[in-house]
Amino acid sequence: MARHMQSNPTSAVPTAATSVLEVRDVTKTYGGHGVTTHALNGINLTIAAGEFVALMGPSGSGKSTLLNCIATIDAPTSGTIMLGGTDVSRISRSRLADFRREKLGFIFQDSNLLDSLTARENIALPLTIGRVPAVQIETDVVSAAASLGIEEVLDKYSYQMSGGQRQRVAAARALVTNPQLVLADEPTGALDSKNAKLLLESLESMNQSRGATVLMVTHDETAASYCRRVLFIRDGRVFTELDRGSDTRHAFFERIMQVVAVQGGVDDAR
């Protein structure tokens, strides 16, 4: 892509002030030569600032592809993805890394902590890359760690921590730059139920206290029930969605279970 077109992402057309993410008619096609797979089939969705949204769907439904496209790791075949008012497909390759670092936070299924670094250093990584002054790095790291309750493991290496602690360190790393959107890809996938609960509560409080916008891909109805809204996707498009409204978490969980059962994707999803 030519650089001059997108050297100034802020000049792109802004969308509604409150929406952080807008996905419009996005398709993604793999393959060619007769055999093509439509991973995304004209999907549409909007996420407002401060939302905590779950994305559910069976294997092969296209949710990972969507996440990769939003994360600017993959590019859609057609359609637009607006993130904080910027069309991500129009960001030049050389600016992509900066964009990712400044606007997005990632939490993966396996925490992906760098094993040669301590927790403190892992959390600080996005800041050091962004050349934030050393003094500010220190305070930012401590406050992010405090909001996830991991102050006591800051000087440990990843192999000295439990899986849950590792995931919360990864969450702190995703948060520390105060990104517009935190993308969580099966963050509880590798955790036992107790640690999963701890992490989800942390994400929930992070969402509430820091106002962080979170989009979480998950298989797990329990995990989804911590969110304010759940999007179900299937065959590359949004199939239905649920709003928690004033439900208790338990009630919301039951509603999610119903949708999953109706969808007939129980077996697929497990």
């Binding site: 790791i73 890394a97 299924q109 992906n112 760098l114 996005p126 050091t128 050393a134």
Partner: protein
């Protein structure tokens, strides 16, 4: 089926570890090329050819030694690769392959690698050896007389034997690795490999400091004591202590370095908390910890290789210079009588009796060289007495020098006349001193200034000049024209001393080849005629001395380049393999960095720092050792009258830099490829 698996694995291995393959090929090529030297002789002048045959025999021995070294390094590299493949080997067994079948796969792989690298290596070696022929010709100062493509079956066989043994040892090690480990360890080995080495920082810092101090003290000791040239037991012992200090210091330094480095850098907050400095530091630290042993070994081997290469080169140059200095005459005929007092030999008439008419060969002059017997016994050497007189200490390497040769002033002037120089004059009761060794001159001149008296025979003489004579010092052609001191005394004084040897020096009139031919066979005839009367008869022509000189320098250069080259590629290969494995181990980290929004510039900058440091750290340590040792060696070599060492290291250093730098560049390129593909690959989630 097993063969297909082995072939598939090989393709992957050749792709991922091209450096390993390259090293095997280079090893084979170098072994073959250097061992063709005896065959190369067939293309060169007869006498050089004969010398080359001898050189070839010596190189055979060296090849075995280098094969052992290279073998160790290759086995190490192979084990390293095996460790990384544990999981794959475990998978085969989980899928139901018997250990024996896995062994067959591994053996097949080794065989394929061996066959390919051997074939390519020999082909490359055959090409290199053609070029080497011309290098050899230059080195031995002759020309290639009739060139045609040649191939040496002997060299092929020797290379085959060496590498055959290496590959068999590799197979045995593979087999042992497979036998020793349990399946569960094989499968979980990836996790084990990731375990980080933590160290207590103060201990690490202390280790690094102790290492540095030990190395420093060892340098100081070496510079103070020099090499144990005197041969006394205590100096030998002191030298061994120095060597142990260097070795222990090197290892301690590398073991402590990681911790010390991290401790230091974490305190430089502005640096540490910026860009990927933190990541780079930690990566290197975790690596230096686990590879401290290999870094230490590599530093020491590099030290040895660099010292051997440069010393070899400079010794050659010193020998060449000495040889040129040592042959002012066209030819010298000399004889050592068994009893110069009772049965003197009239050399001129003996030569005539042997059928050589010297007047037809050219101009000549005869000299009788006498000897001071007290000097030979070493009781009161002239240098020792000079030192007593002036209070200066005897220069390094001259402690056991004897100044025992005496020549009469008329004989000396005759030799000067032969060389076309003005005669010197000498009063009764005076002497002159000949000396052409730069390191000794100053010391001797000081003694002469103070009026150093020499007792020769019954007479005590005083110096006629306050400086030594250094323009015509060599009394006969020799391979080393180095003279720490010869007394020139009045004829009457010389006459009282017994004869040491008689010499006739000749300056040819006419073509050198014809005159050389005229003197051919003279040595044998003289030896026959003087049997029982002479202890030693020698006829040296400038041509033959020069040929001897070039053959020894040729041999030394050959060995130096050979040793240096093999050791350097072995070290560089190990570093390369380690770096590539590290890069692929850390590929997940690089991908994470990229996903976190780290620019390619920073990622590859970090990778570059890591690779470069891994190559440069042992190089710096090895180079420091080497510079210290070379400084001392330089003193020794220059004591032999040749002091321009550094400028002549260029070829050796250039070759070294080319090979080592080449490996560094190649490693970075390949590591770059590994990391790039890791960064580009999208993370796939279920």
């Amino acid at each position: 089926m097993l063969a297909k698996l082995a072939f598939g694995n090989m393709r992957k291995l050749l792709h991922d570890y091209a450096v390993y393959f390259l090293t095997l090929v280079l090893g084979v090529a170098v072994f073959y090329a250097f061992n063709t030297i005896s065959v190369q002789g067939d293309f060169l002048r007869g006498d050089v050819g004969a010398t080359l045959k001898q050189v070839g025999q010596i190189l055979d021995g060296l090849t075995v030694f280098l094969a052992v070294v290279l073998g160790f390094l290759m086995v190490y590299a192979n084990n390293f690769l095996m460790r990384r493949r544990k999981k794959e080997l475990g998978l085969y067994q989980v899928l139901g392959m018997r250990t024996g079948q896995v062994n067959v796969v591994l053996a097949l792989e080794t065989l394929i690698v061996a066959a390919i690298s051997f074939g390519v290596g020999i082909a490359l070696g055959a090409l290199v050896s053609q070029v080497l022929l011309f290098v050899t010709a230059r080195m031995f100062e002759t020309t290639v007389q009739h060139f045609s493509f040649f191939f040496s079956a002997d060299a092929l066989l020797l290379t085959l034997k060496c590498f055959g043994v290496i590959f068999v040892v590799m197979m045995v090690f593979n087999w042992l690795t497979l036998r020793r480990v349990r399946l569960i360890d094989l499968m979980s080995s990836a996790r084990q490999n990731e375990k980080q080495f933590v160290r207590w920082v103060p201990l690490a810092v202390a280790l690094a400091v102790v290492g540095l101090v030990l190395m420093g003290v060892a340098y100081w000791r070496l510079t103070r004591d020099g090499f144990p040239t005197s041969g006394s037991a205590s100096s030998q012992e002191a030298f061994y202590v120095t060597m142990v200090m260097v070795i222990v210091g090197t290892f301690a330094f590398f073991y402590g370095l990681a911790g010390a480095l991290t401790a230091l850098l974490t305190h430089l907050r502005g640096f540490y908390w910026r860009d990927l400095h933190m990541f780079t530091t930690r990566q290197i630290a975790s690596r230096v910890n686990t590879t401290a042993l290999s870094m230490g070994v590599i530093a020491l081997i590099l030290f040895f290789a660099m010292t051997a290469m440069t010393t070899g080169m400079s010794i050659c140059n010193a020998i060449n210079a000495m040889t040129k200095q040592g042959i002012p005459y066209s030819a010298s005929i000399s004889v050592l009588p068994r009893d110069g007092g009772e049965d003197p030999i009239d050399l001129e008439s003996e030569v005539a009796k042997a059928g050589v008419d010297l007047s037809k060969v050219g101009r000549h002059a005869t000299a009788r060289i006498a000897v001071i017997e007290s000097e030979l016994s070493g009781e009161a050497s002239s240098y020792q007495r000079m030192s007593n007189l002036t209070g200066e200490s005897i220069p390094n390497g001259f402690e056991h020098v004897m100044v025992g040769e005496v020549v009469s002033v008329s004989d000396y002037n005759a030799l000067r006349g032969l060389l076309g120089m003005d005669p010197v004059s000498l009063e009764d009761g005076q002497y002159l001193l000949l000396c052409n060794m730069d390191h000794a001159k100053e010391f001797v001149n000081k003694a002469l200034e103070k009026g150093f008296t020499a007792t020769i025979g019954e007479t005590t003489l005083t110096p006629a000049r306050s400086t030594v004579i250094d323009d015509a010092v060599v009394l006969q052609d020799t391979s080393a024209g180095l003279t720490p001191g010869i007394y020139v005394v009045p004829d009457s004084v010389a006459a009282t001393l017994p004869t040491y040897f008689n010499v006739i020096d000749v300056m040819y009139s006419g073509s050198t080849e014809e005159r050389d031919a005229a003197l051919k066979g003279l040595e044998d005839k003289l030896a026959d005629n003087l049997k029982g009367r002479a202890a030693l008869v020698g006829v040296e022509t400038a041509t033959s001395v020069l040929a001897d000189g070039t053959s020894s320098t040729g041999l030394i250069s050959y060995m130096a380049i050979y040793i240096g080259f093999v050791l350097v590629i072995a070290c560089a290969a190990i570093l390369a393999i380690q770096q590539l494995s590290n890069a692929s181990d850390a590929s997940g980290s690089y991908r994470t960095l990229s996903e976190l929004g780290c620019s390619d510039r920073l990622i590859f900058g970090s990778l570059r720092s890591q690779v470069v440091l891994a190559f440069v750290l042992p190089l710096i340590v090895g180079m420091a050792h080497s510079l210290c040792a070379l400084g001392v060696i330089n003193d020794l070599v220059s004591a032999l009258g040749y002091s321009d060492m550094i400028s002549n290291m260029t070829l050796g250093l250039g070759l070294f830099a080319l090979v080592y730098g080449g490996y560094l560049a190649l490693t970075y390129r390949m590591a770059h490829g590994i990391v790039r593909s890791a960064v580009r690959t999208t993370r796939r989630v279920l």
